[in-house]
Symmetry: C2
Subunit: 232 residues, 2 copies
DNA sequence: ACATATTTTTAGACAAGTCTAAAAATATGT
DNA sequence: ACATATTTTTAGACTTGTCTAAAAATATGT
């Protein structure tokens, strides 16, 4: 009658599985629709056939919902794991930048490895050591230990009108070249931005940086910069 | 005639291979003789057959010298990799203790994972961030970035005579139980030790800790504590 | 020196994660 | 509606790292 264990069989999740979950999580941010095999294979840089294999494994472990030929969605369990991975990734990025003097274009690759270290004590101590940062070096929000992600109200520069202004709070693209180019333009997180002119011909935008420097940024750049508008 | 590239084919070494090299390195500290398969299988907690497989791979990569049935020795290349791994392990242990508030019995397991993160910039920045520590939380020396290991002059308590004294600078065993027991006895690194009495019957030792507290430690404990003797 | 015990290697199998090539299902355009 | 293009899955193979059971080599004791 007794001996009624509630077997909390803590399933093991490999580093590779974690990475797939994170990829699906990322792709899910842009849409509500199921994520298809090809999109994952592009994101993960693997053959579509490998993705199908992995999808089956993740589905067996109930980390995703999967119907043949219909794509996948994260289950609640999968979402939790992915969010936790994102938390770890972003906390390590803050550590590398703040404590070890890395530049914002150098943190991602190392965090990609550090994020897989499994220790709750480690990550919670790190969080506290860093003084509970809310955003990572690219302006992305850091989920708290319960998985809550602060939602940001922000706009792409490309969507602003002339004379609107605000603070640069994030970047959409994370590539090294892009981040280094922003450094060259003096576009670090926190600078003040005012839209001076929107060029009809090629959708480039002339902006005023920190009330002092004028720069023309291409359409492409303007679509990758998040601004928190200030109603001044 | 030209086109004489010195192909520095940076061979990839997996986490598992690194762990085997470290195990062989550790076993080599106690002896000059070749390390045999069985010893490695015990250290790595794997079947002897698995060790033989891995030995072949490491030998193919010229990380060890291997003769069938004769055991293995690290090559220069292997020694360099193992030393670097030990450096990373011990630096991470210092980080966990000093910066994240881990206890000395908690650092090892996490460092076991962190040591495999591959980034020279990471580990050198960490070294600098920690102010170039020379010893880890267990008193083990930290190799510098060129692989030089500071040799310690130290003695096991079991080898001291009555009235000799010194400072506790290291532990031989690293297990959680042992370290926690030392905490209970107040035997942290840095305390002053004086040998008050050596009991013939069971080789236990009565010591004076920091000129104030007397404790009797068993033979086994006394064989696991390194003292740097002070000629007072 | 030789029988016995121990250690090491081989043989064969398995799981995870990857690939390419081919087949099957779905989507698209006229 | 149907031919064509695209996407997804299957089939079969490979690598790394592991295992057990059995065979081969080495070590040991009298
Ligand atoms: Mn990143
Ligand atoms: Mn980031
Ligand atoms: Mn350790
Ligand atoms: Mn240590």
């Amino acid at each position: 009658m007794c001996n009624n264990f509630s077997k909390t069989v803590k399933i093991m999740i490999s580093q590779t599985e974690e990475n797939y979950l994170k990829a699906i999580f990322k792709l899910s941010e842009a849409t509500q629709k199921p994520i298809n095999t090809n999109a994952i294979s592009v994101e993960m840089n693997t053959a579509a056939a490998s993705v199908t294999d992995m999808i089956k494994r993740l589905s067996d472990k109930e980390l995703i919902h999967y119907e043949k030929y219909k794509g996948v969605k994260l289950s609640q369990k999968g979402k939790t794991i992915a969010t936790d991975l994102v938390r770890r990734h972003r906390l390590w990025e803050v550590f590398l930048l703040e404590k070890l003097g890395f530049a914002w274009d150098e943190v991602h690759d190392v965090a990609e490895e550090l994020e897989h270290i499994k220790s709750d004590k480690l990550i919670d101590s790190l969080d506290s050591f860093l003084d509970f940062p809310k955003f990572d070096p690219h302006g992305d929000p850091i989920p708290d230990s319960d998985g809550n992600i602060q939602s940001r109200q922000q706009t792409l520069i490309s969507k602003l009108e002339v004379d609107e202004c605000g603070v640069l709070v994030g970047v959409y693209e994370h590539s090294k070249v892009f981040l280094q180019y922003l450094d060259k333009l003096g576009l670090n997180l926190g600078v003040n931005i005012k839209v001076l002119e929107k060029v009809d011909y090629d959708q480039s935008v002339k902006v005023l940086i920190n009330e002092t420097k004028e720069e023309i940024i291409s359409k492409k750049v303007s679509q990758n910069l998040f601004i928190k508008t200030t109603t001044s």
